[in-house]
């Protein structure tokens, strides 16, 4: 929909402004600089700082108006440089500076501070304010990650507006009034928002500072590259900043198609893990006394020998698990190696994803969320797993442009914004969709235009077929629906497209582990994968890892799984290697190298190339440019990445296979008996993942361990909330603290994945359809 243009005059020059645009934006487009502090293009204007005065011609003569609150109208005459405008702007600036402390030399914002910049270019030069400045305790932590210095605050309402309007966590607000007005949290309620770091980025002064960056660098020491966050698969555009060859900060970059400038705190602050002292810096080879440091030459030789031995038994005795944490090029190099050695058993998903066929359905983009009148959620809690996607869906629902229909087994971050939230027990999603589809209001809603189905693993303790069947039901109700698959790992979609997915009739990760447990795998390659921590079935993972005759691990840290390997090759991490990545909608964009890889670690593609040479199958890769070119030349999906300019900013969408349909199938599952609870396992934002666990600022935030039950179920079991209970499945018994929560369905037990303490994966059997548990007091 193209907007009407209006002819206006800015500083004597004609300008074509867009209808509905604000004068401040029109001025910026026309190249006339208007200073501002409170205005932010992604939030409602409030006109509070009063800095953006311009003069507008009115029937009563020139009139001073704040340009952030004034829409353009046809024929408008705007002046930004008159004496009246300058006087008003300078007056406001002097008043803003009156109480602002002059501690710029020790302020994190100094050097990139809009207030400082304004004071230098337009300010009075000398303060006439001889009175005592306003004093507050400084700084105070308002959460684990953010500190607040109220003396520096200019009360622009950006952080508070962000928390309320964008994040939906109105945990900071103005208190007191007049000159005592201050931003503060509510008593005993920290600003524990998953998005708190954004307030630091948008603060126009140094009032909000991030704990992980405080006093780490000065802006003029920073060097930066634009990149894409791969913490999850949303693919937020970021700027990676370093000082002295160390990553010190990520900032969000505003692109229309994905993140609008926002980042989640996990993605923003997990650069600490890249800098971790625990990073693998040198190859390790297993000797008599366990893993010992070695050289690349020796380690590659040992690995190649293991691989050759296994291949000589037969390619089916080799398997590759992992590959979704790296770049598209990394994945493709490993796929090329696997092709060269006829290794069909490869899977970048860890038995916690969805079948690759999902990408062959008609695909939606993230931006479709804003356009479609209906969004159907068959997905885990987006706020926990894909936080910035949550912001986008929440925004659409809040603006009332979109209605969200959610199917879930427990209350999610989007439940308050959903038009209809349908509760559905594990294993019964398809039936719930069927039933909802029979209601008139839902079919009426589905007929209103585009439908986007956001689909992902709602429950890690049940077979993925349930959610696939539910999706088939949705596509039956709304054949025109577009699918937005939400697999969680950073580049899972790219890795699948590059070929790290089961080939021919080979099995997936679960099958590989079963084969390994049966002694059928001679060489298991773990490509940045940690089955012992990530595969939902802990017992299967243990038997599989133990049963593999030899293991080659490529990893950034010595994880539970890589510690059992025979050879461990240190891999370069995010920010240490150049590449491209693919987000959940198939958007290809660049990854930047900002710092030197830790120790002797190397990118995955380079390790694949060298290992290939060592086994006598030279892949012909001698540089990043080689593998990048091979990728876009040989894999049709990646061909759009030839647009070198666009992949460096807003990205390009990959080519999709011709859409196929999804057959409906009956997948009803038996009811659980009344003594049991159906187990729901899903992720929290902060869990035991390496990026979180090795980031000192984030690690303590993973603390959601326990089993959550509806109050009625708690009463039935007869123990108070906060007491330990026994949770027993067919597999094992765990002792967990039980929490009462009305957010969980009656008859359902929710246990968050990957939290410290007893590991819920012990309960899960991947062979079963669903997992029912008995809960008893001890």
């Amino acid at each position: 929909m193209s907007k009407k243009t209006l002819s206006i005059t800015i500083d004597g020059k004609p300008h074509a402004a867009l209808s509905g645009q604000l004068v401040i934006d029109a001025c910026q487009d026309a190249g006339s600089f208007v200073p501002f502090f409170c205005y932010h293009p992604r939030m409602t204007p409030v006109g509070m700082c009063r800095q953006c005065f311009v003069e507008i011609e009115s029937p009563r003569g020139p009139m001073l108006v704040v340009s952030c609150m004034t829409p353009v109208v046809e024929g408008q005459v705007v002046r930004t440089t008159t004496d009246g405008v300058k006087r008003a702007q300078q007056g406001v600036l002097e008043l803003l500076l009156a109480n602002h402390p002059l501690d710029c030399p020790v302020c994190d914002k100094g050097g990139e501070c809009p207030l400082q910049d304004q004071a230098f270019s337009n300010g009075p030069g000398e303060s006439r304010f001889v009175e005592e400045k306003r004093h507050f305790e400084k700084p105070i932590p308002i959460s684990n990650l953010v500190n607040l210095d109220r003396e520096r605050c200019i009360l622009c309402d950006r952080c508070t507006r962000f928390a309320d309007e964008v994040a939906g966590d109105p945990l900071i607000t103005f208190i007191s009034r007049g000159t005592n007005t201050q931003v503060l949290t509510f008593p005993d309620q920290p600003f524990s928002s998953y998005f708190s770091g954004n307030t630091v980025q948008i603060c126009p002064v140094g009032a909000l500072t991030a704990q992980p960056y405080r006093f780490k660098a000065r802006p003029w020491d920073l060097d930066q590259e634009e990149s894409t966050c791969t913490t999850c698969s949303v693919g937020c555009r970021t700027v990676v900043q370093s000082s002295r060859d160390e990553l010190v900060r990520y900032q969000g970059v505003d692109i229309d198609t994905v993140n609008w400038g926002w980042l989640c705190d996990r993605g923003r602050f997990n650069f600490e893990a890249v800098n971790s002292a625990e990073r693998l810096t040198t190859p390790l080879v297993k000797g008599d006394s366990g893993l010992v440091e070695s050289s690349w030459a020796v380690a590659l030789d040992v690995a190649a020998r293991m691989l050759r031995t296994a291949i000589s038994v037969g390619p089916e005795s080799v398997a590759i698990i992992g590959g979704s944490r790296g770049s598209n090029e990394d994945a493709f190099a490993w796929a090329m190696l696997a092709d060269a050695l006829n290794i069909n058993q490869r899977d970048c998903q860890l038995a916690d994803g969805l079948p690759a066929e999902i990408f062959a359905l008609p695909q939606a983009t993230i931006d479709d969320i804003n356009r479609a009148p209906t969004i159907i959620l068959l997905a885990p809690d987006l706020k926990e797993e894909l936080p910035v996607l949550y912001l986008r869906v929440r925004h659409a629902a809040e603006k009332r442009t979109t209605r969200v229909i959610e199917f879930t087994a427990h209350r999610t971050g989007l439940t308050p914004y959903a038009w209809r939230s349908v509760q559905s027990e594990g294993g019964k999603l398809a039936a719930a969709v069927q039933q909802a589809g029979s209601s008139e209001e839902i079919s009426e809603q589905l007929s209103r235009g585009d439908v986007v189905v956001i689909v992902g693993r709602t429950n890690l303790a049940e077979s993925p077929e349930f959610v696939v069947n539910a999706l088939a039901e949705v596509l039956h109700l709304a054949p025109h629906a577009l699918v937005l698959p939400t697999l969680r790992r950073g580049n899972v979609r790219g890795a699948i497209a590059a070929g790290l997915t089961p080939q021919s009739d080979a099995g997936d990760t679960a099958d590989i582990l079963v084969a390994a447990a049966a002694g059928k795998i001679d060489c298991l390659i773990l490509l940045g994968a940690d089955p012992l921590a990530d595969v939902p079935d802990a017992d299967l993972a243990r038997r599989g890892i133990a049963g593999a005759r030899s293991i080659i691990a490529i990893d950034t840290f010595l994880t539970a799984s890589s510690a059992t390997a025979d050879v461990v090759l240190p891999a370069a991490a995010y920010g240490e290697k150049i590449g491209t990545t693919t987000n959940l909608e198939g958007r290809l964009s660049t990854l930047a190298q900002k710092v030197t890889p830790a120790g002797t670690s190397r990118p995955d593609w380079m390790i694949a190339a060298e290992l290939a040479i060592a086994v006598g199958k030279d892949l012909g890769i001698s540089s990043y440019a080689d593998i990048h070119r091979m990728l876009i030349d040989n894999v049709a999906a990646f061909a759009p990445a030839r647009d070198d300019k666009r992949i460096r900013h807003e990205g390009v969408l990959m080519n999709h296979a011709h859409p196929v349909g999804l057959a409906r199938s009956d997948s009803s599952v038996a009811d659980h008996n009344s003594f049991k609870h159906r187990l729901i396992v899903s992720r929290k934002l902060y869990d035991g993942a390496q990026g979180t666990a090795k980031s000192p600022s984030l690690a303590p935030l993973a603390n959601a361990s326990g089993v959550f039950l509806h109050p009625l179920d708690r009463a039935r079991i007869g123990v108070p909330s906060g007491v330990e209970v026994k949770v027993t499945s067919d597999r094992a018994t765990l002792v967990l603290v039980m929490h009462e929560s009305p957010d969980v369905m009656v008859g359902t037990a929710w246990i968050p994945f990957g939290q410290p303490g007893a590991d819920v994966r012990e309960l899960i059997d991947l062979q079963g359809d669903v997992c029912d548990v008995r809960i008893e007091h001890i």
Partner: protein, 458 residues
């Protein structure tokens, strides 16, 4: 000083349209109100008039809003977009302009008259819900209004099918938490919605179009509504016949300061002069101790000050506007010849600095700075350049320091703090200079802030 108004009959008089029940002991009760002619107008409107006719009568009365801006009430009602419902009437009972206390008395002493006025207004504009917002500190007014509302509901004067007619109305009584700025209509709406009492920007939020809960909303002052029963009972033309053609009807003025008998007086609008109000025995009965008026504030603390040359101006909106100030909410504060103008100026500026809501920069920072500079001058720490500084800061809040004021702020609170400075410094520059040079007031000025006479420096 000789008193020109020592004999009765020399000053214009008029009927006591809205303060008539102030001396009746039970005038505030339902029984007392009905006995003295209450709810007659409402019955008349409901049984024999259409909403449009009620609106026409009010238009004919040409009654100006009594809240401060003096906008014609019937014209304001006409701004409501047709056929958009629900629409609301919000009664601004958050009277907090320093020196104004007429609405408090109207609510305490004659609550049913206000309720009847609300009913008539809502009938005229087709509103089905009114919100009565009373200032937080007015405990007695809240109590009496609550009791009056209960009685009115019990007697079917409010509620469903009022007096057996097709007209239904609910009135919700609510009160503030003590903030001056909530007297500003958009801040009042924010407060009513449960938000912080901060003004909204106009545009786009003109209450008549997007007001309470983003619905069309009329915000009327208590006194304006209290006049409606009289207008409907006797007709708009009768009302217009009282007072001056430019300022119709009777009007309540709250007089305080250095007069012998401060109080609220209902006077014919537009014809009575300030001098009459100060000196007539019916009203204030002269300046204290037989003194003279050095300066007076004609319409609330936000107004520009007047001086002895303005005493014979009539209490008439256009007259006062033309003379460079405003009648505002009808709060008149007299200052006699012993008044310390620096201290008086500081005292008023301090009020605005403390009441600034903190939303926009010029008001939040500017008013506080002005207050600090004035306080420093009073404390004997003034510098010669401080006078220029006061004007410079004022210029940043209110470009041009003119009347009516322009503003860089969201609402008029900021410029309100500029009025006393512009008035006092321009007229009594010598007193400021004396403070700066000597750290104390010039001789003959009462040293109210420092009665011991000991100053920081001499």
């Amino acid at each position: 000083m000789s008193n020109q108004y020592s004999t009765p009959g020399q000053i214009p008089t008029g009927p006591r349209l809205i303060s008539g029940r102030f001396e009746i002991a039970d005038g505030y009760t339902y029984g007392g109100y009905v006995r003295t002619g209450g709810y007659v107008a409402l019955r008349k409107a409901l049984t024999s008039m259409t909403p449009k006719q009620v609106h026409e009568e009010v238009k004919a009365a040409e009654i100006q809003g009594r809240g401060g801006a003096g906008f014609l009430a019937a014209t304001k009602w006409g701004f409501l977009p047709p056929d958009i419902h629900p629409r609301y009437l919000v009664v601004n009972g958050d009277e907090s302009e320093p020196g104004t206390y007429k609405d408090r008395l109207l609510m305490e002493l004659d609550p049913h008259q206000l309720i009847e006025g609300i009913m008539l207004a809502c009938f005229a504009v087709n509103a089905a819900h009114a919100f009565l917002y009373v200032r937080g500190e007015m405990a007695l007014a809240q109590e009496r209004l609550a009791e009056a509302l209960n009685d009115a509901y019990a007697n079917n004067m409010v509620g469903r099918n009022v007096c057996g007619s097709q007209f239904s109305l609910d009135i919700t009584l609510t009160w503030g938490a003590g903030a001056y700025i909530v007297g500003e209509e958009t801040a009042l709406i924010e407060s009513l919605e449960g938000q912080r009492g901060m003004p909204r920007l106009k545009p786009p939020f003109f209450p008549a179009v997007k007001g309470l809960y983003m619905q069309p909303t009329i915000v009327n002052n208590v006194e304006t509504l209290a006049n409606l029963p009289a207008i409907i009972k006797d007709g708009g033309a009768t009302f217009r016949g009282i007072g001056a053609p430019t300022s119709t009807g009777m009007r309540m003025f709250s007089v305080s300061g250095h007069v012998n008998r401060p109080g609220v007086f209902e006077v014919p609008n537009g014809v009575t002069t300030f001098r009459m109000l100060f000196e007539a025995p019916e009203y204030c009965g002269g300046v204290r101790n037989g003194g003279t008026v050095k300066a007076f504030i004609p319409g609330g603390a936000s107004a520009m000050w007047f001086f002895d040359e303005h005493l014979d101006l009539a209490l008439d909106k256009p007259t006062v506007d033309k003379a460079g100030s405003m009648l505002g909410s009808g709060a008149i504060i007299a200052m006699d010849q012993t008044t310390d103008m620096v201290a008086a100026c500081w005292r008023i500026v301090r009020f605005f600095a403390r009441e600034s809501c903190g939303k926009c920069t010029p008001c939040r920072e500017g008013t506080t700075w002005l207050e600090q500079v004035l306080r420093r001058i009073l404390d004997g720490q003034g510098r010669p350049e401080d006078i220029d500084l006061l004007f410079e800061i004022s210029e940043s809040i209110s470009p041009g320091i003119a009347w009516p004021p322009l503003q860089t702020t969201i609402c008029p609170l900021g410029p309100s703090a500029v009025s006393p400075i512009a008035s006092a410094v321009r007229r009594f520059r010598n007193e400021f200079d004396h403070y700066i040079a000597h750290g104390r007031p010039i001789s003959g000025i009462e040293d109210v802030l420092n009665p011991s006479g000991i100053h920081a420096h001499v």
